[in-house]
Subunit: 197 residues, 2 copies
């Protein structure tokens, strides 16, 4: 019995992750009560992001021009490439402020177990970047789960022959966590990765 335009909005909002019927209705009623201009800005931002965002020609990060803002920044260390699965991981690493090199975004993982899929285009892109020379280290920051590890191994195997150093981010106990509750695999990894103090 809801007005069609409104129930259409609810249906559309429910396509977003983590948004069920109740949340969609709450958002819908909120949007109804907003200023028209404010609601239009939200809607337009969703449309624009799809129309104005490209993938960086070099690293496949999201970009507004041929190169993303990181690749276009001459202040970055262009000898290092850090490989991530998705752009959100890139931004998480950027927030640490600990990394000044470049990135390479795979947009997926190599999943030998589940579906055997492979982000071929971006992996090929990485190989091309290495061929161009000047890269001294490739840091693989895929997740330490089955697919992430498989991707890391595959990439290492692919890159090592070129002579470029390939490193993997450290696995271990999260900062602030209690050793008592760490799982055995993480504990083992953290022991194996121990460093001199």
């Amino acid at each position: 019995m809801m007005e069609k335009v409104f129930s259409h909005l609810i249906d559309q909002l429910m396509l977003l992750p983590g948004i069920g019927k109740k949340t969609a209705q709450r958002l819908g009623f909120y949007i109804l009560k907003m200023e028209t201009g404010a609601a239009r800005k939200i809607g337009q931002a969703i449309i624009d992001v799809k129309e104005k965002i490209l993938l960086c020609k070099s690293c496949s990060n999201i970009a507004e021009r041929d190169l993303c803002s990181i690749c276009a920044n001459p202040g970055r260390d262009s000898q290092k490439i850090l490989v991530v699965e998705e752009p959100n991981i890139l931004y998480a690493i950027e927030k640490t402020g600990e990394y000044r090199g470049l990135y390479h975004v795979l947009h997926g993982t190599y999943s030998p177990v589940s579906d055997g899929r492979m982000p071929e285009r971006t992996i090929q892109g990485l190989v091309e970047r290495l061929k161009n020379g000047g890269i001294t280290e490739v840091i693989i920051a895929t997740s330490p789960n089955i697919d992430g590890e498989a991707t890391a191994l595959y990439l290492a195997h692919l890159i090592r022959p070129s002579g470029t150093k390939v490193t993997r981010i450290a696995c271990g106990i999260p900062v602030g966590a209690d050793l008592e509750y760490a799982d055995e695999v993480t504990l083992a990894k953290s022991l194996g990765g121990r460093r001199e103090m």
Copy 2:
């Protein structure tokens, strides 16, 4: 360091209730990965709802034409008006399937304690509807909190002189709840509202 179009989308999504930075980013990255057409439909639905939805000339419910789908339905009992604070309550009551009369949406409450605000336009609209005659009962379904009760009292005071019956929804123990955990005020209300079996 995020691309501007993208961080603008994050900012816009964060204007919605219950959506913080983390959720907005998750939604943003999800939208980035959607089909362009699908994302456009979501954005357009948000824009459309503000541009195509009006308030019903009679009851102030959301409507696509002069009258909302309920007021325009000749099958409804036009002698009863149920007063609610917001359209979402109306839809919640519709879902019960227990009510076949008309509604009146206040879009707010009379808040004597907090800010003294008053949804004057819609209250005036209700008074006009009663003047036109034919209404035998006004059911006040504002929330049983301070503002809702104040609004109910105010409306009862306003309507009673016209001779129209004014009723209030029942307060009591929610179905399925355990009496042990009911608060005293609700218990007292539920006792006061007891009915013969």
